[in-house]
Structure formats: structure tokens, C-alpha cells
Point group: D2
Chain length 385, copies 4
């Protein structure tokens, strides 16, 4: 583990604001932990609710002074802009605020999905490109050491040409025969939750994981998406066949209606020289089956660990890290990129693989293509990349 | 374990002939072992090769008298018909001989694929129906105790209504960049090996396993099939989205080009009340994740074992059985059915689940539909059932 | 799989008699299946019960003529001796009959424990040595392909000098708070079941497995043995520290009182160059963790398979075999040795590793030493080897 | 996850000093991360090295002002005592400083081993008791959610009376045939590293884990400890048979010389009603095999999670946490206890299970007993508790 090179570089931590993800939210807590883990950020401002009283209460619980607990993104941007010690980076858990954050001159860490519509995504990506700011989209599963090891092995040619990919993300959270609770009802409203619940929630993760590990794009899909639990309007499953940018073939399967399953994100990638398999529920293991040799089980910092994976682990062999550390890797990579830009230095190239607005745009295009193929009776639909 | 109820019933073993599967062949040895395991058959005749010298030599190695080592199926049928101690059942490892076997009045155990063409399959199924004979198609993976436990749990309603199914069969045997060896070149010739190597070899197993466990039919497919290894003409992968007869949805993925993978047949079935998962490489384990309770790992003869599974195991808890025993279960079930018909008694209903000519016909229709959807740019194709 | 080289060699199968293991018994069925699997034996005579009616009935169920269903071992030996087609080999599931079998000039396959007392074991081993006959003791776990792979890897030096061994055998069959059923009451009677139930039943397996895999002897033990389930007199657990013949150290733990556990025989062996782990409940996997390289999972006939393991498997990679095949390997190895002796030829050296009377004697000495150390307050006790 | 109840209670974080565990050390980083994770501590002072230049440099890297980077524990205690904002709690990674910390009126978090000698341990425990301060010994494996679930299930009677325990801790870090590097040479010096390297390093963890989960004491041991790697003087393995305070029996095996093994701490506990198994390398899984029901796999926050385990997890089902979170649980529990005492309120009883000075004392007594039994030829030695 490198001890805070960014802090050493900057002489200080980056000042972070958060929008959304109030005290009771799982994802808000994950973001704050991720920011704190390597001590590269200090939380200076927040707008955790659009209800002023809740926002003020949330600010207090986060240890913020009263004048830095805001009731909206715009209020936060306005308030922080005027301060010498104003926020430099903002972590956004509410769609639609990203554009304003960039306009306010802030670097952005954004929870997925990046936007609800393709048009929004195109415009946001253009805005990021024009701004020169860092935009980190928290497809957090790419932060696991063994996911990075898989990518690095493929980049190094250890699998040869990629031929076949299977990715699946199976959950049981929406298996019961009723709609989710009121507090999260927006997730089941296409207008607020995006055009497809299952694709926005987990399909985009699966798509991003496939691209991150293989370094390939999804060029075409033949797909179906729909609802399998009775009396439900929102999507709870999607399947697709894939043609990748190098001609490889693949399958894709996601659902939140698999009763009893927890969080079974799994990927298998075969190349000419072997096959890799990884599953999120046992993230410390990476199966590698070479064409010519015994099957292997790779572990963080075990023999054969490549630099990209070694950098993603803070701990000795045999001591498992988990989801919080994977998530934190995205935050710390973004901090490296932001701090280097502010310092006018070259960042560690290994830090620059966090998902960005292009990844977000490609994710939205993928969702869009899946929906179009599903509407077109399963015919193949091309995806721009 | 029941000790040979059939033998007790008959007072003797069934007289078995084999066609194909000569001494050097893997599948031939498997069939002979499967027939021998429960002592319900005695091998009395064989035609293991179309080369008379090889056939004679093979007969000697199998311990047969010279006059019962034939050089072809028709010769065998003719020779055995004239004997008082002639074969009653024939195990066929060569497509096209089944029809003649039925015509010769024999019960048939047939290796898959049942036929190479849909037309042949329709006619064979009709011939079986007309004959009143037993026709057992050796989709051997249905013989595993935990596969039968999965079926029995679903039949008993332990999963509730089935909603989602994933089945995949991934092998690495054809991952290298050359065509298989000469001796098996016929497998890469569509005229002899069927219209699709990967579908005939393993796709039909995956399809059958899904049907056996769920009790549902595949009603529609959207599919692609093709070759991913460079410079290859025969199919080495196929993927499909599935719509099942009750409206459930599913995914299907098979390949023989996944370098380093052995024999990874895997299925996951979710119903309203829970999810089952099974994989052939660890066949002694069946994962059951109920909607409302801790995840379970079921094992042969462990608590909760249902009669269909108990019947499929010969051994105490904790002593794994394997592929040979699974294969033998089909042979012994067929023996039960044959012996009961000959004796004019009612067979054990739990013995009657071995795959038959209807299963074979549905498998060929499935392959046909996959090919048609693939040719039709992935659009959904309905399957008659 | 080699197809019956012994049959080819002999021109016929060995004539086998069985003593004990009547129709209802698990172990009897296992023995008969093991004998049948490779077609190297034909069952010609039996004495499955000391009750004449039951013995006659058992003979009928096994398909034997009435005059070859005997009511005792001595009767069987006498009856078979006079026949030109008399038994050549006898499989014995009743202690005390082995000596008479040797005296009758038969080769012997004997279920463990070999004898109940150390004195009997010493005399039996001497009798075997004097007779020149084959004596195969069915420590069946040594027949698993991956157990043989482990032994072969150690023999080939792949682990370097052995330093540390852990072996444990944990079952739950005697976890309930009552004594086993009447039919097996003899197992709880030291006079008939040996001096220690748990040591005779499973401790001897664990000891033999350790010796088979490592090629080392247990030189000294510090041990405790006793009863942990309330109100029980027979032993249900035993633990020991081990000093091996090369100075390696080890631990040993066996119990039949672990509620809910099936048949968890497990071994871990560390040498200077790596560590092997194997467990009976997943016998198709052998974990190898080299000192300098990624952890491996070895499978039957996978890359790196050594001849001793390849010979023990009848099937292609990825198709698990089980306990029945492991058991059959001992029978077929014994057949190889017997047939070669009868033919005056050299047997395959890889066939000669089945446990024999010396292994049995060393097992009884180990049990004896464990008991003595336990009685001596845990002090170290040396074992003659 | 509860969001910082301690901070809400106190209105502020506890002021923490650290002694030892400088920037380059693994354990120092783990401690600082653990303290930071739940935001219950702020780091205010440090003495990370006895070299003044290194200590100053370390303080800078930790973001401390120059006057709070001390060159020794005593200097830190003296310097902080005079400040209104002085440290309240000290995290100690150097044996021998604990006593002074208590004398200085600080609460203490102490890395294991607590002391090097039994006499020191007795005196330290007495000092803790007299002080009324919190003393938390970081046997960090007790912080895993599934370890706490195991304890809670046993406390709730789900296993019935405990009968059998196996605990093993197997590592490969000292498998090579040379002594560790100079920087850690003290670990191989009995005077500084304690009487037994392997027992101090990992044996004490295994002993503590057994006690934590079972709630039982180790009453007697029969043991051996020694060196198995050639030309080594320090201990690299230890084995023992155990008699627990309720009459249960057990085995204990620890080594750092198992080539290729990472960090294989494993425990199995059998009671009258079932068996639990847990291993540190897959800490998110807890196997439970009930006497009367299918085997289960319990996961954090899955069905059946008890309050003690739920409290130890910050995250939704299916998102694995790791070693860092387990470690942090001890820090946060200690914070709860310290804050409650300072506030004069009752702490959450579920927070009070962190290992303390009595646990440390019992650990040292256990090591002492193991050594005495080993010296006494393996005879049983009683342990005061």
C-alpha cells in the first residue's frame, strides 16, 4: 500500500461536497466511506435532501457547519463558489446535477446511472470533454483487485485473442410479488428511474464490467427485456446475445427477480490461451484455466499479481478485502487524477482506468440498444462506439 | 439401494446387443459400464465396427462368441432374430440404426443425437410410438441424483412457479486452432455429424436438462450459432434467449471453444419461492436458495432428499457417486420399463423419466429453431411441442 | 481406460467368492460392484450369512446356484476346494475368516479392519507373507484418482521434503444421543468391533491415507481417544499429534460425533516446495499450492496428471467419477496382481499399490499406540514399522 | 449501518494517539484504517519510531503538527498529558508501552501479543482492572460478521451443548529455508518476540477465536511446539489436543511453514444439534450443518442473521466486507465503550465483546501451557482460567 501519495503531493486533502445519499441511504454511506478510506478527501459540504430540515439534520450528522448543509445542488454550487475553502470535487447521487456541477467548475464523482436518457448522456459527455474536469462514474465493481488483475492479464496477452464472454448479474431483491416500498418508488417510475429499472440498476454494471475486463466494446446486441414477476410494470430481467468489437461473441443476463439470490455478478472470458472466471460474491478469487496447464486460482497479491491489481489492494496476501475497498479505489484513483491536474504533474497511468463519462455514455447506448432490439422482436441492433 | 428388483422380477438379465462404440471409444465403454452396473443386462452380441476384422476383434475383447460379433446393424438384427437366446435390447451408438432396430422388434437404448435431421426424428418418434417398444435416449446428465432432486423439488412445488432459467454448457475440447483429428472428422461434417456440431454434441444436452428439471418446454428462441475459432467451418458456439411454455424466460449458452474449461454444464432455475443451481463438475451438490431462509446445499441422501433422487443413488451420504452411476441410472430405468412390459406388470413410475423419442424429437426441433433464428437475424422462432 | 488387460491376459475372469456383506448390507453391495466394474471377476460362490436360510436366499439373489451358497466361510472353503471351477479369490467382510482363506489357498480381498487385535494382525501378516498370496485390504479411499495423483506428485518430488501433515476424518453418524441400532450392536462391543470403534471404523482409514499419500510412516503418537456423546461407552473421537518417519510433524483428528457432517475425510500435506489438500467429499479436486506460483486445482486427467492417477480413471476430463470407481480400483489392481502371478508374468508396477497385510498390520499398531498414549496421559508412544 | 452513534453521543470523535506501526508497516496502516473507518476517532499524536528523524517524518506523513510527533511512548504520554486537547486513547503496537499508557490515564487499544511473558501479562491485566480503563486487544478475526454470527448462534443454543472443536491456523510466510529479513529479526528473538514465534503470531489468534466463538475456556492441553524448517531456531509449528471447560474435546494446529498457503485460519465447532465451520480466507461464508436438516451457508445480513452479526456489518447482503472492516469493528466497539464511560451512559452490550486484557492473559497462559506440555513429553497440562 502506498501511503497517500496524493496527500503528499498536494500537501492537503481534496475538499469534497456530496449531493444526495442522505444519512439513511446505503449508497450515500458507501460513497462517504470510499472517500474517507485513503484519506484523500475531506468532506466540507453537503446537500443530502431537498427537504431543508432533513438537509440541515444530515449536515449535522456528517459533522458539517450549518452554513455548508444545503438543500439543493444549485444552492451548494452557489454557496461553495464564493468561499476560499469551497468544495473542489462533488460526489453526486442524484441524476441531473452533474451538468450543473461541471458548469460550477467542479470535478465530479457520479453514481450510476449517469443519466436517464441517451440525449442527456451525449450532452453530459460533451460537457465533460469541454470542461477538462475529471468525471468518475462509480461502476464500483471495477475497483476489485481481481477484476483489475483480469483486465491486466488480458492486456498483457495472457489470454490471447478474446473469443467468448459471458456476463450475468442475478439478484433477488425484487423477487417478491409486490412493488418496492414507497421510499424508493421513483426507481420504478421510468421518468425518474430511467427507461429500464433492471438495466439501469445492474445491467449497466454488467456491461461496464465486461468492457473493463476485456477492453472490447459491445458492437451489436440481440435482446429481450421485460417483467417476469406477476403484476409488475417495471423491468426485472433482460437477456442479450452480444457481438463484440473484435468479433468475439457473448451472452448477457441480468435479473433482480431471482428469489434467494444475493448479488451474483459473474463473468467468464475465454481467449485463445485460456479462460478467466470471476464472481462478485467471492471477489478475492480469480479462476484462470490456461489452455495448457492446470487450473489456477489467483488471489490478491499472490504469485503472478500484475501492477494494476497490486495497486488496488492495501493488504497482505490472505487477508480478504471487500466491496468497501473496491469502491474506495475509484475515489482514490479519481483523487490521483484530480490532484495531478491541479498540480500540473503527470498522474500514475494506472490510476486513470476509473469509469468516466464516455463509459457512462456507452452504457446508456447499450441500454438503449437492448430496448430497441427487444422492441424489434430480437433482431440485432448495432451500437455506436 | 434396491438390489436388482428387475432381476428378481424377470428371473434373469435382459439380453443386450451393442452397435457402434468399439473398444477404443469412450462412449462405448461408458454404455457397457452403464449396462453392467446394476446387473440388469447381459451382453450377448455386438457390431462394434463396419470393418469385419475389427468387429470380430471387438467381439472377442468383449467376451462374445465369434458368431455373435457382427459387422453391421442389419447383420446383427438378422442374426439375433433367429436365435432363441437372441438379443432383446440393443444399445445404438450409430445414428440411423434405430429405425431398423425397432423394425426388428427390439427395445432400443440410443446415444444422442437421436437423428441428424428433423424429418428423421419425426419418423423415428412415430415408429417408436407405433412399436410400443421402449426407446431410451441417453441424455445421461439427467441421471445424476441431484438433477433428479431438482426436478422432484420443482414438481413438489418447492420453488413455486418457475420464472427464470439459465443453462450453459461450456467446454474447451475444440478451443485449439485446428480441426479435430481424422478419426472423428465425421463430427465436423454436417452431413454425418448433424447440422450443428456444438448443438448436436452439447446443446441438445443443455436443452434436455432444462426440460427435465423444470418440466417446461422451450416455446420460442432468439438465437445465434456460429464458429469463433479462426478457420473453422463447424459450429463451436451457440447462444439463445428462451421463452418457456409457462411464460418463464431464460438464457442458453453453449460452446466447445472455451480454452481450458473441462465440462461445465450448469443450470440455475428461479421460481417464486427460491432458486436452484447445479453444475455437472460438482454433481454431488445442489444449491437451493429459498426466498425466506438461509441458503442450503443439498447432497445425495441428505436431509430433504425426495424419492426420485433417493432412487438414483446407490450409496450412503457423503460418498460421492459420479458420471458412471448417472449414466447407469438411465440403463436401469429402461430395464425396469422393459422388464415390466415383458412381464405384463406395472413398472415403478419413478423409473419412467428416462429421455425418450419425444425428448429426442423436441431436441432436434430445438436445434432446428436455433438455426432458423440465427439465420433470421436473431428474430424469435416458435417451437412446436 | 485400458479395456480389461487382465481378461485378455488370462483369457477369463477370476472366480470370486464372497463371505459376509449380505444383500442388505451397504459394504457388501459396494464390494460386489467394485468387483464387477472392470469385468475382471465373476462371482461364483458366497456365504453371506451364518443363518442357512438367509445364506441360501442371498445366494439366489446374487444369481448363484444353490450348491454354491454356503452358510459359513469354512463351508465355502471346503466346498469350493473340491471343484475344478472353484473360487480362486475370496472377498471377506467378516474378521477372522482371512486366515482360513489363506490356508485354503485363496487370494484374499479383505474389508478393514484387518483384525481386531494386534496379535491377530501380526499372525495374519506372517501368514500372508508365507503364503505368497495376494492380500488386498480395502482402504478404498486410496483408490481415488486425485489421491493417487497426490502420492505420485510427492514421489516425483513436486513437494520437496515433506514437513507437515494434517489428516482428519469427521462424520456425524454417531452424533445422536443413543447407541446404534441392534443390527450393528457388535460394532459397539469391543470384543467384536475391535478395541476402539472410531479408530477401527475411520481412524484406520485416515492413518492409511496419510501413509499412502506421503510414503512415510507414523513413528510416534501423542494421543487421546474417548467418548464425547453423553452416556456412551464406545469411542467416538480420537486426536493425536504425529511424528513421522522422516521427522515431519502432523496432526490427526477423527470423530463420528460431529452432528450434521457427512463423510469429511480431509488431508493437507506440506513440503518444502508446496502444499497439497484433498477432501473426500469433493474427490475430483486436488488443491496444489506451490511455493512459487499461483494456487492450482488439479482434476482427473487434467494437465499434469501423472501415470498413477491416469491409470485410476476410466473417463474423460470433466466427468466426475466417485466412490464406486475408487473402490473398484483396488479390486482391479488386485486382479492384475493375481492374474500376473497365476500367469507367471510381471504385473504393471502401478497396480501394486493397493493396501496389503503390512498396511493392515501397521494400522493396527497405530490404533494400539493411540490407545496406549491416551492411557499414558498423552505421552509420546513409538510405533514399530 | 448505524451512522456514528458514538459521535452523536459525544458530539465529537475520540482523540487517538498511536505508538509504533510507522508508515511502512502493514499493521500500523491497518490500525489507522480501522480507527478511521467509522469516524469515531481523530488521530492527534504519534510516536511511530524511536528514531527522532523517522518519527518526525512519520508524523508529517500522518498530517500531524510537528509538536505531536514524538520519539517514544513516554515522551508522548508526557506531552499529551499537558494539553487540553490531549490524546484520550492510545493505540499501541509495541509491547511494554501498555502499562505506561494506563498509568498516564489513557484508554488503550493494543496489538497482540499483549505481553511477552506471563508475569507481564498478569501485572498488566491487574493494572487494567485497577484503572477502570478500556483495554482492547486486537484479535481482529473476532470482528468478522460471520465469526460473530457463529458466537451468537452458539449463545442462542442453536448448536446445543458444544462437544468438539477443531481450530487450525496455517500460513506459508516462513516456509522458505532462511530466517526472515533483518527488519523483522526481533520476531525471531525470543527475548523480544516472546517465547514462541508461531504461538505469539498466530497461535494466540487461534486460541482466542476458539474461545470467542464457543464461549468456553481451554482447560487442559497436550502439546508439541517446535521448528520444522531446517536450520531454524524459532518455532514454526505447534499442535495440541484440547480439553475445554465444559468437557468438550478439540484439536489445535498452527504453522507458518506450510509452503504456498496464505492465511488459512479455520474453525469447526460441533454441538449436539449441528456443526459450524468458518475459514478466514472466505470470511463471508459460514457453514452450518444441522443435525436434522440440509446444510446451510450463512452470509452477512442473510436470513437468520442475529443482532451481534448484523451490528458487525455495514453493508447490504451480497456485498462482501473484508479484513479491514473486521478490524474496524474492534475499534468501533472500543469507541462505544470508551464514549459511554466518559458520558456516564450504558454502552450497547453487543459492543462489549472485543478482546480485553483478560483475553490477553488467558492467551499468554495458553502459550505457556503449550510450551510446558511440549517440554513434558506431551503430557496434559492444566490452564488456570
Amino acid at each position: 500500500m502506498s501511503l497517500n501519495p496524493v496527500v503528499a503531493l498536494l500537501g492537503r486533502r481534496l475538499r469534497l461536497a456530496v449531493i444526495g445519499g442522505g444519512p439513511g441511504s446505503f449508497i450515500g454511506a458507501m460513497h462517504r466511506h470510499a472517500a474517507a478510506l485513503d484519506n484523500r478527501y475531506e468532506l466540507v459540504a453537503a446537500a443530502v435532501s431537498s427537504d431543508p430540515a432533513k438537509s440541515a439534520e444530515g449536515g449535522r450528522e456528517l459533522g458539517l457547519p450549518a452554513d455548508r448543509a444545503y438543500a439543493s445542488g444549485p444552492a451548494l454550487f452557489a454557496g461553495e463558489r464564493g468561499r476560499a475553502d469551497g468544495a473542489e470535487v462533488v460526489a453526486i447521487m442524484t441524476p441531473n446535477d452533474s451538468h450543473w456541477a461541471l458548469a460550477a467548475g467542479l470535478d465530479v464523482i457520479c453514481d450510476k446511472p449517469m443519466t436517464n436518457t441517451l440525449d442527456q448522456a451525449e450532452r453530459l459527455h460533451a460537457a465533460v470533454a469541454a470542461s477538462g474536469k475529471v468525471f468518475c462514474l462509480t461502476h464500483n465493481y471495477t475497483g476489485y483487485p481481481m477484476v483489475r488483475q483480469a483486465r491486466a492479464m488480458i492486456e498483457a496477452g495472457e489470454l490471447g485473442a478474446i473469443r467468448l464472454v459471458q456476463v450475468e448479474y442475478v439478484q433477488g431483491g425484487n423477487a417478491r410479488e409486490f412493488e418496492p416500498s414507497q421510499g424508493r418508488a421513483w426507481r420504478h417510475d421510468p421518468a425518474k428511474g430511467g427507461p429500464s429499472l433492471v438495466m439501469g440498476d445492474i445491467g449497466s454494471h454488467a456491461h461496464n464490467l465486461l468492457r473493463f475486463i476485456t477492453g472490447l466494446e459491445v458492437a451489436e446486441v440481440a435482446a429481450e427485456v421485460g417483467s417476469i414477476v406477476p403484476n409488475r410494470t417495471v423491468h426485472d430481467y433482460a437477456g442479450a446475445l452480444l457481438r463484440l468489437s473484435n468479433g468475439a461473441r457473448g451472452s448477457f443476463w441480468v435479473t433482480q427477480a431471482a428469489a434467494g439470490v444475493e448479488n451474483a455478478l459473474r463473468i467468464r472470458v475465454s481467449g485463445a490461451l485460456g479462460t478467466l472466471e470471476w464472481q462478485q460474491e467471492l471477489p478475492q478469487l480469480l479462476s484462470f484455466k490456461p489452455l495448457d496447464g492446470p487450473a489456477q486460482v489467483r488471489t490478491p497479491n499472490g504469485p503472478g499479481t500484475l501492477p494494476l491489481a497490486a495497486r488496488a489492494s492495501r493488504i497482505k496476501r490472505g487477508h480478504p478485502e471487500g466491496f468497501p475497498e473496491a469502491f474506495a479505489n475509484l475515489y482514490s484513483d479519481a483523487a490521483e487524477a484530480i490532484a495531478a491536474r491541479r498540480a500540473g504533474t503527470r498522474p500514475d497511468p494506472l490510476a486513470l482506468l476509473f469509469p468516466n463519462s464516455l463509459d457512462g455514455l456507452l452504457g446508456v447506448r447499450f441500454v438503449n440498444a437492448v430496448l430497441r432490439s427487444s422492441d424489434a422482436n430480437g433482431t440485432w441492433v448495432a451500437i455506436q462506439s
